[in-house]
């Protein structure tokens, strides 16, 4: 089933991390409004393969908005023009016939471009490895109901835990700060009783790793939360700042 939309794409092409990169223009015809944005890219790639050109490399996997792999910066916004969705959930009915669409990779020093629209987000994994966990080995657990957790706390922890680690917050921030990502994990684990015993070490270690990776400072513009596909709240950042301050005070007191 073909559709009736004709579009112009300006897509960032970059051979590898050392290439300078440039925009290429592609004309798309007969696009269906029911296609997802990535399916429109499938059509583009099929065209490129058929004409002997190199298809565009882009990251994607689950195509249902949960794995966090897709990462396109569309018309100046991470994951495109609509709020609270990922690129794979964006459908062509959100665009108009004749539109010009500019597609770029995430731009951040800590997320180097690998090829075309794919970037390296392993810095996020290293931040989690530094402290984004509860230190509990398999087999150590008590019965799940021996630790009552109020519904309010459980819901708040869940809201923070809903982060998919896509990096849109970093891409949206003019400083390329990772504060929303880091704070969501810190907050999830410091709300829950399981995470409290090591909350001080956790926040210090994660923030230190974040700085080491070269993410920028937070200047409270709020772009991260506004562009977050999972609507992770800015209040997480406030909570992280409190945790961090407290951890440092305690540290100074020895």
């Amino acid at each position: 089933m073909s559709g009736n939309m004709n579009l112009t794409l300006k897509v960032w092409r970059q051979k590898n991390s050392s290439d300078k990169g440039r925009f290429e223009t592609y004309k798309m015809q007969d696009i269906s409004p029911d296609m997802s944005f990535l399916e429109m890219f499938d059509v583009l790639n099929e065209q490129l393969i058929n004409t002997g050109e190199e298809p565009v490399v882009f990251d994607h996997d689950c195509r249902e908005g949960i794995c966090g792999m897709c990462s396109m910066y569309i018309n100046g916004r991470p994951h495109g023009p609509k709020d609270a969705i990922t690129t794979c959930q964006l459908h062509m009915r959100s665009f108009k016939d004749g539109d010009i669409i500019v597609v770029e990779p995430w731009r951040a020093a800590a997320f180097p471009v690998l090829k075309d629209l794919a970037v390296d987000r392993s810095a996020f994994d290293r931040i989690i490895a530094a402290g984004g966990f509860v230190s509990v080995n398999t087999g150590n657990a008590q019965d799940g109901n021996n630790l009552p957790i109020s519904k309010v706390d459980a819901d708040e922890a869940f809201a923070s835990a809903a982060c998919i680690g896509c990096g849109a917050c970093v891409a949206a921030c003019k400083n390329a700060s990772a504060m929303l990502f880091v704070s969501a994990k810190v907050n999830q684990l410091s709300i829950l009783p399981q995470g409290k015993p090591e909350r001080m070490q956790r926040v210090r270690a994660m923030v230190a790793q974040m700085d080491k990776e070269g993410f920028g400072a937070c200047t409270n513009t709020g772009a991260c939360s506004a562009e977050c596909p999972k609507e992770i709240s800015l209040s997480n950042i406030a909570a992280l700042n409190r945790e961090f301050l407290m951890a440092n005070l305690i540290d100074q007191e020895g």
Binding site: D34, E46, E64, G132, A141, G144, N145, F158, I164
Partner: protein
């Protein structure tokens, strides 16, 4: 090679407890010298890698995604089963065991399933301890909901994102070990060959997907945690990258493939909207708790759902299965939807869909809320508005997802749903220790065949993945590794590594050199259509025989006419896809052969020739009470049969009426 399930002796209830206390142990200083390769980082892979590292083994973990957190376990929505009996509704280990065996249509191993049920409560405890934010009641206790094929509430959940939260729990445990240096993580790496030395699994060849470089990795044992192969159908609820390649490579090296034709078609997915479609999206089974499934009583009815009065609606699941109603198992619900659509009662533009309607339960919840809030004589609109809020809290993300994809608001109109490929019960054959027939090669989670028989119950995949990784393999691997303590790490310069790497390089080069005229996706779509039409929800002898011929022809065409751009020394997703589709084509043929061999209907395997007068699956327990374990051969496969013995459950015609 012989087929021996190695099930411990003794009564069912004590087999696991007794066995695990007698498995040989490996002392801590020896563990430090034993290397384990874990392929895949989903629930099974992450939990196994983290736990084995905690125990002291040297672990390497591989995933093709850019981070272990992206494995497709993340997309599981509804929940995870555990026999906790927190609801005091009569649940028990035995009942979870019984439901699973029955749900699987009596084609799973009793001993494995009992162990799974026995372990299930520990999984919940472990996840809670890690900080997984399960849904809670106001009193602070864990909340439960119902899933198909059971009459108790034993499903634990985190909104519609249970898989995500469980995976992030396992991922955090894994990252903790990575941070401590006990696990080396290889993201954006794909396993392309198994290395065997003296008949044992001793390593792998992996391709660094960024540079294209082929790498050699030695391991005393290799764990395949590589997920399912539903993408053989092209359209499925699997992630785009989910594939059979690593599992297929070990199959071609001699590991038996178990019950390949057992595929789960999930009843509640968003219907196909056009040829551009790249994947299908699931609407969680948990929605069947609160949604009623119906079609118009009149065939070809073109009225809008809201214009069809109550007495002209056919709630066909409630009609056919009064005891379980909308909560029949997935295979039964899927076939019933297909039956109605094939008979001309389908809805929507394509007529290949049925309604999943929440209005009835929104009203019910609304009335409860009105009473709670002390609203006297509320109007219908007010009740509905209150009810919508309750439903939003339970399933908000799923409703939003539906609206994004279809452009329709499910709070206002019923969802349109249709069955889609979702899960594969079949997989690498394993014994009770989760070891394949190749010594030192294990398979965990969806990648193995072991626990779900011919149909998996909802919320049991997460349970099995984590049971295998957290609580089974850490014990059972000792049975093998305790005998390997004197095996020194083998150099990757060994000729077996050399040979394996060369064969991989040659194959990759071949894809590029064909320079044909059709893209990889072209072949994948063709394969998917053959599989869906002839080896999908309903199968018959003639169709399967045709499918085998068509697949053979497709395979020849693929190797003559595929076009793979770029080179092997760079990030090249088309090359990755080419390798995966080449393997899917071979697997597709085996699935059809398996379906053809099994002259009965059971669970998700429905052979049209074998059905009851009422159209239910008709098993043949005398002839087919076995696991099909297929051995690969250059020219053809050989079938080995593992007989299934039911000593604790009386097998019967499955009934949900």
């Amino acid at each position: 090679m012989s087929i021996n399930s190695n099930i411990p002796e003794g009564p069912l209830e004590t087999k696991w407890t007794k066995y695990k206390s007698t498995i040989p142990l490996v002392n801590p200083s020896n563990k430090r010298n034993l290397e384990v390769l874990v392929i895949g980082s989903g629930l099974a892979g992450s939990s196994a890698a983290a736990t084995l590292a905690e125990m002291g083994y040297k672990v390497k973990c591989f995933c093709f995604q850019d981070s272990p957190r992206r494995a497709h376990s993340i997309a599981a929505q509804g929940g995870i089963n555990a026999a906790k009996n927190y609801q005091n509704d009569g649940d028990s280990v035995y009942r979870l065991f019984y439901d699973t065996i029955k749900g699987g249509d009596y084609r799973a191993r009793e001993a494995n399933v009992y162990r799974l049920a026995e372990i299930s409560p520990n999984i919940i405890d472990q996840c809670v301890a890690q900080g997984v934010p399960f849904a809670r009641e106001y009193g602070g206790m864990l909340s439960n909901r119902s899933f198909g094929g059971t009459q108790v509430q034993r499903t634990f959940y985190a909104a519609g994102q249970t898989g995500q939260q469980l995976l992030l729990g396992a991922y955090s445990a894994l990252e903790r070990q990575i941070g401590m240096g006990t696990v080396e993580m290889y993201s954006r790496h794909e396993m392309l060959e198994l290395v065997m030395i003296d008949g044992k699994a001793r390593g792998i060849i992996a391709r660094n997907l960024i540079t294209g470089k082929l790498e050699r990795h030695f391991g005393h044992a290799v764990l395949m945690c590589t997920g399912g192969y539903g993408n053989v159908f092209y359209l499925s609820t699997n992630a785009m990258g989910s594939n059979v390649t690593a599992a297929w490579k070990v199959h071609k090296k001699g590991a038996y493939f178990g019950n390949p034709c057992f595929t789960q078609i999930h009843p509640t997915c968003i219907p196909v909207s056009g040829d551009h479609q790249s994947k299908l999206t699931l609407m969680s089974e948990s929605l069947r708790n609160d949604g009623r499934i119906w079609v118009p009583k009149k065939a070809g009815d073109t009225r809008k759902a809201s214009e069809i009065p109550e007495d002209e609606r056919d709630y066909y699941l409630e009609r056919r299965y009064p005891a379980f109603g909308n909560l029949v198992p997935r295979d039964v619900a899927s076939r019933a939807a297909k039956e109605r659509c094939d008979a001309g009662f389908g809805v929507g533009q394509s007529k290949m869909a049925v309604y999943l309607d929440f209005k009835f339960n929104m009203m019910r919840y609304g009335r409860v809320e009105a009473t709670k809030q002390g609203i006297e004589n509320p109007g219908d609109d007010q009740i509905l508005a209150l009810g919508k809020e309750v439903v939003k809290e339970k399933y908000g993300n799923l409703f939003d997802m539906y609206k994004q994809i279809t452009g329709e608001d499910p709070y206002e109109v019923p969802m349109r749903i249709y069955p889609a490929v979702h899960y594969t019960m079949g997989g690498l054959w394993v014994d009770y220790n989760l070891m394949t027939n190749i010594p030192g090669l294990y398979a965990l989670g969806e990648a193995n065949f072991s626990d779900h028989g011919a149909n998996r119950l909802g919320a049991s995949a997460l349970m099995q993945g984590l049971a295998d990784g957290y609580f089974v393999i850490p014990y059972t691997i000792g049975a093998y590794l305790s005998k390997e303590i004197s095996t020194k790490a083998i150099s990757v310069d060994h000729p077996a590594f050399e040979e394996a790497e060369n064969s991989v390089r040659e194959k990759l080069g071949k894809f590029i050199s064909i320079k044909g005229s059709k893209s990889v996706d072209h072949f994948h779509k063709k394969l998917g259509k053959i599989m869906w039409d002839k080896c999908g929800m309903a199968r018959n002898e003639a169709g399967l025989k045709e499918a085998i011929e068509e697949i053979k022809a497709l395979r020849t065409e693929f190797w003559q006419d595929v076009r793979v751009p770029g080179s092997i020394d760079e990030l090249n997703p088309e090359l990755e896809k080419a390798g995966r589709v080449a393997d899917f084509i071979e697997l597709g043929e085996l699935m059809c052969m398996d379906a053809l061999d099994r002259n009965e209907s059971c669970g998700g395997h429905f052979r049209e020739e074998f059905q009851t007068e009422e159209g239910e699956a008709l098993r043949d327990d005398n002839a087919f009470s076995y696991v099909s374990a297929w051995q690969y051969g250059e020219n053809n496969w050989t079938l080995h049969k593992e007989e299934l013995k039911f000593e604790n459950i009386k097998i019967a015609q499955r009934s949900y009426k």
